[in-house]
Subunit: 363 residues, 2 copies
């Protein structure tokens, strides 16, 4: 086993951040859920797997990958036996691996449904990356399959468990911000040519599905309301040939039952730092960056209160570790995850409306 510089940084990060996690309690010290990682891409290898290693309630016990070499290297790092390395054809055999409690699905979007459903049928709980799927129908099928198998389904909406975002929600719910009037949110990045995210069959859509979903989901968790009157524009500029299959830019406005009006933007053509500003009658709060793996920064100016300026000390992959441990609790305590399949489905339905309003096919 060769340690790379990336491995070193990963372990250093784990050491640095373990203080932010809850202390290991006596009753959980020997109890960990076994994770099977489905797909060894960047988010698995650089974020989720190091997170499980630093988590209090999980361990990596199996891998599913189309690349045996890559899988063996990761297996060595995490102590996964060779017998627990599966490929996409053989993965239904996870049914017979009693070490596996849950799978983490981090495949390209359009493959989420198939592997989430196969996992549920194999008797495993499912934590699936966002967007939940590439179609509304697939999303519904995932919910049904997990229900039929009596297995938990959680969509990996990291930010719903992250303290800075939770503090923003709390400031709003407590009334500190007064009557909320308007929200702006944006999130985007300048995508590299050749990414699977630019392939419609794999991604199902462009920046809206991948990063705009953060703004959409944030507007919902910040308000605690469901939007209506969704109106959108989309464009493909394609000044350098990357955008033959998916949209490049999407802007949309939506309204909430209380009257809050939100306007959002996303792009694959520019590095658009993820952010939101929430404007209330008594003050404003801003999270910028709002959605990243680390470095989140909350500021607020509220009448009658000292200004808030709270950079989050948490470093990647703490957010992923918290998410993994939350799912462990859901399994052990038989709780429905806050970001369950229904929550993922609502975003899928809303993104479908956004696309249709912009003159594109729905999801």
């Amino acid at each position: 086993m060769n340690f790379t510089r990336r491995d070193f940084h990963r372990l250093a990060a784990i050491a640095a951040v373990s203080q932010f996690l809850p202390a290991v309690g006596a009753q959980t010290a020997d109890r960990r859920i076994g994770w099977c990682i489905i797909a060894l891409g960047r988010i698995s290898m650089d974020h989720f797997m190091p997170a499980v290693k630093m988590s209090q309630k999980g361990k990596i016990v199996a891998l599913v990958s189309g690349h045996r070499d890559k899988a063996e290297k990761q297996a060595a790092i995490y102590g996964v036996p060779a017998s627990a390395i599966y490929d996409y054809e053989s993965m239904d055999a996870i049914r017979d691996n009693k070490e596996i409690d849950a799978v983490y699905v981090a495949l390209p979007n359009s493959m989420h449904a198939e592997y989430a459903i196969r996992s549920a049928k194999a008797g495993k709980h499912v934590l699936c990356e966002k967007p939940m799927a590439s179609s509304v129908a697939d999303s519904r099928a995932m919910i049904e399959a997990c229900k039929a198998a009596n297995k938990k389904l959680m969509i990996a909406y990291r930010c719903q468990y992250e303290p800075t975002n939770l503090k923003a929600i709390e400031l709003i719910r407590s009334g500190a911000l007064g009557q909320v009037q308007a929200i702006e949110s944006a999130n985007g990045f300048n995508i590299r040519a050749g990414e699977w995210r630019l392939n419609r069959k794999l991604a199902g859509g462009g920046p809206l599905m991948d990063v705009g979903i953060y703004s959409l989901n944030a507007c919902r968790y910040l308000t605690g309301e469901e939007p209506h009157d969704i109106k959108a524009n989309s464009s493909v500029i394609d000044h350098d040939g990357r955008f033959k299959e998916v949209e490049e830019n999407v802007g949309w406005t939506m309204k909430f039952p209380s009257g809050i009006v939100a306007s959002c933007n996303t792009t694959y053509g520019a590095n658009m730092e993820g952010m939101y500003r929430v404007h209330g009658s008594k003050g404003v709060l801003q999270l910028m960056p709002a959605f990243g793996y680390q470095g989140l920064h909350l500021t607020a100016e509220i009448k009658g209160s000292p200004d808030l300026d709270e950079p989050s000390p948490e470093r990647d992959p703490v957010q992923f570790a918290r998410e993994a441990d939350y799912f462990a609790d859901c399994i052990w305590e038989n709780k429905t995850p806050k970001s369950d399949g229904e929550e993922g489905l609502r975003d899928m339905e809303l993104m479908s409306e956004i696309y249709k309003s912009a003159g594109l096919p729905g999801l």
Copy 2:
């Protein structure tokens, strides 16, 4: 004549900022256009009139007001003779006052057209505050009247003459930002109960007309393009009874011919600092505050260039002085102002579309 503390601060500001104006050239030293101020509200008394006093090319020679006492006090400050104080009935007599070259119309929006047209008919050039009018028809009538009288008509889009905004435009036009993809802009404030701006007959509309127009106009001058596919939402929350006549919040998205997608927000229900962010393939620029009378602040992160962080040193009322002197040049050099009646009309037409998209009557 009593000097108030406000007068003192105004004069101190004039002294402090005169360095930012062009030096008085020999050919303009004895030449100033005579301004007639129509309506003595806050923007006239606190901003435009002190600005003319510090300007290089103007002087205040006449006042129109419904309040003789107030007018006499202002006349004393600015050395305006009692014979040059008019009321709304007598103002057509400005025709006979050869000292007056131009009027500054700073009445409630719905009165702009009548007084701009009467001024043009009296042979005076017209600088009119934004929004140009409260209807598209009135805007067209103003353009026609000024054309028929062969008088200049300029809409007071301060930001189109302000160096920080001009620098933002230049960064975009020069290509430094690469291919522009998306713009976000917002502008709003928490309005006081009882303001004329809350009266539909006087204002013609709510925050969109008053402050959202800055975001709309900025998206147009930043891109140099005319938007289409305008889609909007509007709401009235009215948690404290201020919003019986005009809308409280408006959010909209629009698209430009090059594919740029903009999303904007405005409100009268929260102090929403005016801002825009422009996202390009090579970097991002932000102006925040973007539209105020002072304190504007440009930041930019552009690939391959040092980060920009440029707070504007200019203090109120320098922007107004620049605007007034620009109009003097237009008159003397027989130039069409950059922000002419057609420019004002385009915003009126677009705001009409925004309202209609939001399910409200057009303008």
